[in-house]
Symmetry: C2
Subunit: 341 residues, 2 copies
């Protein structure tokens, strides 16, 4: 694994995007969102996706000049049209707008239709937490997950992000509703490892920990079996109904053609509520720290590893990668370098 | 299993509550919320909880005269104090208030502190959907679930409800973040059945489908292992921080003393958004039906059963129980009858 300084990564990606025709500020933000994902240890939704992102610009699926536009607004709830622009830029814009609404009304919600893949959903959770507000967002995806009780994909693995700001480290959950993404399955297969838990069915319908068997059967498991299957359905329903956009079953089932997604961005500003009105003696600040301390207090059930809270590893990885350089797949880096004007 | 007509159930419960000192309208609503849970097939959070509810009134944990009060409001976000009143009445009141806010602002959110067990969370999802709005709500609970990687309970199985209105049957997800609740584990044990999937650890730390082994070890599994563990933490953080109330680790870990819970109620009114501003040609009505049709379209992976959407079985059960009477545990019914003045 190659390591590339974060600043170099940023400038290489920026130059490529400028060269493709992005406006200067949009190139810089788009490059940063890709680089941040890799820096935080999520290269599967960072640099590794950059070549596909460029292919989808070339094929016309992504319109680099387009930005999201409001189409209907009502108080704290707004419907926006992504106009097929770059998914990460539109998601960032809509979370920023939800944050703005939360400052005015306590809570704000943007329903975004007609957008493209947002890459790493966690970025928008960190964005909310960095702004001091609670962020909740999700997206639908192409159909890539069989509902519980069936073997054909009918729901998406619709990631759900919930982020809570905390001075000593934001708590950010960024989870797809399948047990492992296809990207994660491939990583396990390439390392020759089995999955730690049953995470899908093989082609004969038996539960398996073999990543290759699940890639072949295309039957990953929803988290919690029937529960994740239902959660995927509800996230799709809410996103498509509120945005007036497409539902999972209307999205082309090929990754290079996955477009016109529907997304929800919710921000909640706890500072709007007068802290003198706390029902208990907790202050927000202290309480979040207490909750995390308690969460991490039990002795580990095996091995020596302490329980981790969502977002903890991201912060550690970020510090390490800022110091040593961001790990990049050599083949991806070579491919990207050839595009660098 | 005994069957009791719904109306009889209502009047028996109402009379007992009146006798205990409830005001007339509060007795009627409280009785209905208990009866509705049993009628819909969720007697574990309906009638079966009624004797415990009365014990907690007697012990002073629940104050039957208390109702929720707003303590801080800011636009579409409000903080309420449950004042230790009956949990189902306060939850119903706060969802009603969130619905009211959603009519004014598109979205409304109530954060409720200092409340008691809301019994069946699904009730408040159905309430929102019956009012034509999308409802999202959750509660924290006493610590009853070990985080992934530990064997001591540190998070709650915090149920999450998401409800979407639909003329041909609301879609209502009502899921705890543990694979099976303790109530469900007991039911399997009493029927002498194994669980359909690994759902916890036995006392020696092996995954098991034996419900009794999980009851003994007190180590049920979070849905999706580390994912459900993280989701439980985030639901607790958001509920306690926004409400200014207690977090899971501050709640007494005995069911009869479980009190001062924190809850979130969100309502979203899709009708606020001008339907002429749909980004796609979908109307909400048609789209929800299309999504459900597609969800149920794949052939079942085994046996003859079709994929069910969340809420479908509830509707079927409701129709059956309204016709034949609501099934009640004979021992519970006997206990309740002795209280009937």
């Amino acid at each position: 694994m190659l390591r590339v300084p974060y600043e170099e990564l940023l400038s290489v990606l920026s130059r490529i995007l400028l060269n493709v025709g992005f406006a200067r500020d949009r190139a810089a933000l788009c490059a940063r969102l890709f680089a941040d994902a890799s820096r935080d240890g999520v290269s599967s939704h960072g640099l590794n996706r950059f070549p596909q992102f460029l292919r989808m610009i070339k094929s016309g699926v992504i319109d680099i000049q387009a930005g999201p536009k409001p189409v209907a607004t009502f108080g704290s709830l707004e419907r926006w049209d992504g106009c097929s622009g770059p998914g990460n830029l539109s998601a960032h814009h809509c979370m920023a707008r939800a944050i703005e609404l939360s400052r005015q009304h306590g809570i704000g919600c943007i329903a975004l239709a007609n957008t493209n893949h947002w890459m790493r959903g966690g970025n928008y959770g960190w964005q909310a937490a960095d702004a001091g507000v609670i962020g909740i967002c999700w997206t639908n995806t192409l159909p890539n997950l069989p509902p519980w009780g069936a073997s054909d994909p009918r729901v998406g693995n619709n990631p759900l992000i919930i982020a809570v700001p905390r001075k000593s480290g934001h708590v950010v959950l960024d989870m797809a509703v399948s047990q492992f993404s296809y990207g994660a399955l491939a990583s396990y297969r390439l390392r020759g490892e089995q999955l730690p838990v049953d995470s899908g069915f093989d082609s004969s319908g038996r539960l398996t920990r073999d990543p290759a068997a699940i890639e072949t059967s295309k039957r990953p498991l929803p988290i919690g079996y029937w529960k994740g299957s239902g959660l995927a359905l509800l996230l799709d329903l809410v996103a498509s109904l509120l945005s007036g956009g497409q539902a999972t079953h209307q999205i082309p089932a090929e990754p290079d053609r996955e477009t016109r997604l529907s997304q929800i961005f919710i921000a909640l500003d706890p500072s709007c509520l007068d802290p003198s009105c706390l029902v208990q003696a907790n202050t927000s600040e202290d309480l979040a720290d207490q909750i995390i301390r308690h969460f991490q207090s039990p002795p580990p059930s095996r091995g020596g590893e302490r329980v981790r809270y969502p977002g903890e590893r991201v912060l550690q990885t970020r510090v390490e990668n800022m110091a040593k350089g961001v790990p990049v797949e050599p083949s991806i880096w070579t491919e990207i370098q050839t595009l660098n004007p």
